[in-house]
Point group: C2
Chain length 245, copies 2
DNA sequence: ACCTGAACACCGTTCAAGT
DNA sequence: ACCTGAACACCGTTCAAGT
């Protein structure tokens, strides 16, 4: 099991110039294939931060289909087997990416705004981040928080916000889980094709649904995924707000 | 693209005794490897209903890791390439399974009960069916309804129920999509390990979250996934119910 | 039209050998 | 400890050949 220790990923100090990571990638491939020969190199070529950055670059270029261990190794100029000195499996790579992305979710409003607007900003931000990374959702859903310290940090901030807003303690986790379930499902919805509800040749045998789809399209302010997300989120915020003491 | 035409899957009439499908599987493997030789057989060995049934059997025995085209072919006593006379890709097999499962979702309450309890029964049934089949969720989320007639039939029944309950037409699809997003996310949650929220060695640095997790565990009536699903679902039903005219 | 059999281009992962 | 290089056991899919 991979352990992402906080010490491995310092927040502020820039790594020294001779450390591995992205820097390596910018200088190494200059041109002629001056390839490494077998054996341990004088300084390590790989580290977790560099692997994470390379994985994110591959994903942004070619999507998750482009994230293979072979492609990841190639982009880092190592043999595929070299990766296994740093991660136990491809799932560990996905965990590194997940923990990186969760740190991008905006939780700042919990320190500065009323509960309703803080939850609203957090939920939209969370959905937007993972709508671009839906292949991670099955990983997150089963991920023990112990394995992802930044994910755990997000939960701490959010639960503290719920507590400060007067939520009964025994309901906090359930409310967060329910919101997260809605957020993950809605992230998939963002990726759905525009014509997902086109009933095609079955239209006349499904009059109620077809009419409802046309009615939504006719008024059409906002993307359908955003309208549905807003509708559900406001219902959840309204319902949960009533639980506060 | 695979088209699951209604004519291919009659609801009531049992197939004739000499038709392919499950029956074939029960009689064929009797013992000695009396193998088919190349060339078109006198009667087709495969059909979509048989492929679907074999896929469901493999999934129930070994999970989705066990559903490979090679294993599917083996269980049907054909070469893997024979499957491609009936489906274009493995995704088509997943669509066959999805359409079969959606038909198991209970929508009967929409004809007989008030809107609130009908939605409640539908949502619990929908979650329970797909909690056992989470690998299908990424497929469903992007699936045009045209490709899955039984899924479309479910939407017709549900949207007719919303309409009859006084929902404004232009909100029906958004409300259903929001509920579905919550249901899909919650289906993942059912599969999460029991200790998913164990903060481990980070417990003292996350007092608010750790306390909330302990408080939930302490009172612990019901599985956490069920408690969260109930909480979210009731909030959505309450919020959406207020939209009715 | 619908099967077999052989192939193709991958995939994640393992492991001996090297320094 | 951390690389290379060669292998392994798969994967989904294609296609010529057969009837």
């Amino acid at each position: 099991m991979l352990w992402i220790l906080p010490a491995e990923r310092p927040a502020m100090p820039a790594p020294p110039a001779n450390s591995p990571g992205i820097r390596e990638r910018e200088t190494a491939p200059k041109n002629g294939a001056e390839r490494r020969r077998a054996g341990r190199p004088a300084a390590a070529v790989l580290d977790l931060a560099g692997i994470t950055a390379a994985a994110l670059r591959l994903i942004s270029e070619n999507g998750y289909d482009g994230l293979t261990m072979a492609a990841l190794a190639r982009s880092l100029h190592v043999a595929p087997s070299a990766l296994y000195n740093h991660v136990e499996s491809k799932r560990d790579v996905l965990l590194l990416v997940e923990d990186h992305l969760t740190a991008l979710v905006d939780v700042t409003a919990f320190a500065a705004e009323p509960w309703e607007s803080a939850v609203r900003k957090w939920a939209w931000s969370y959905r937007d981040v993972f709508a671009e990374h839906t292949p991670l959702i099955p990983v997150i859903a089963v991920l023990p928080v112990t394995d992802a310290p930044r994910t755990l940090a997000m939960y701490e901030t959010v639960s503290a916000g719920f507590r400060a807003a007067g939520f009964p303690e025994e309901r906090i986790v359930s409310a967060i889980v329910a919101l997260e379930s809605f957020i993950f499902g809605s992230a998939y919805d963002v990726t759905a094709p525009a014509d997902i509800f086109d009933s095609g040749s079955m239209a006349e045998s499904t009059p109620s649904f077809t009419g409802a789809v046309r009615s939504l399209a006719a008024q059409g302010h906002g993307k359908p995924a955003d309208v549905a997300f807003s509708l559900g989120l406001e219902a959840l915020i309204g319902g949960f707000g009533a639980l506060r003491e």
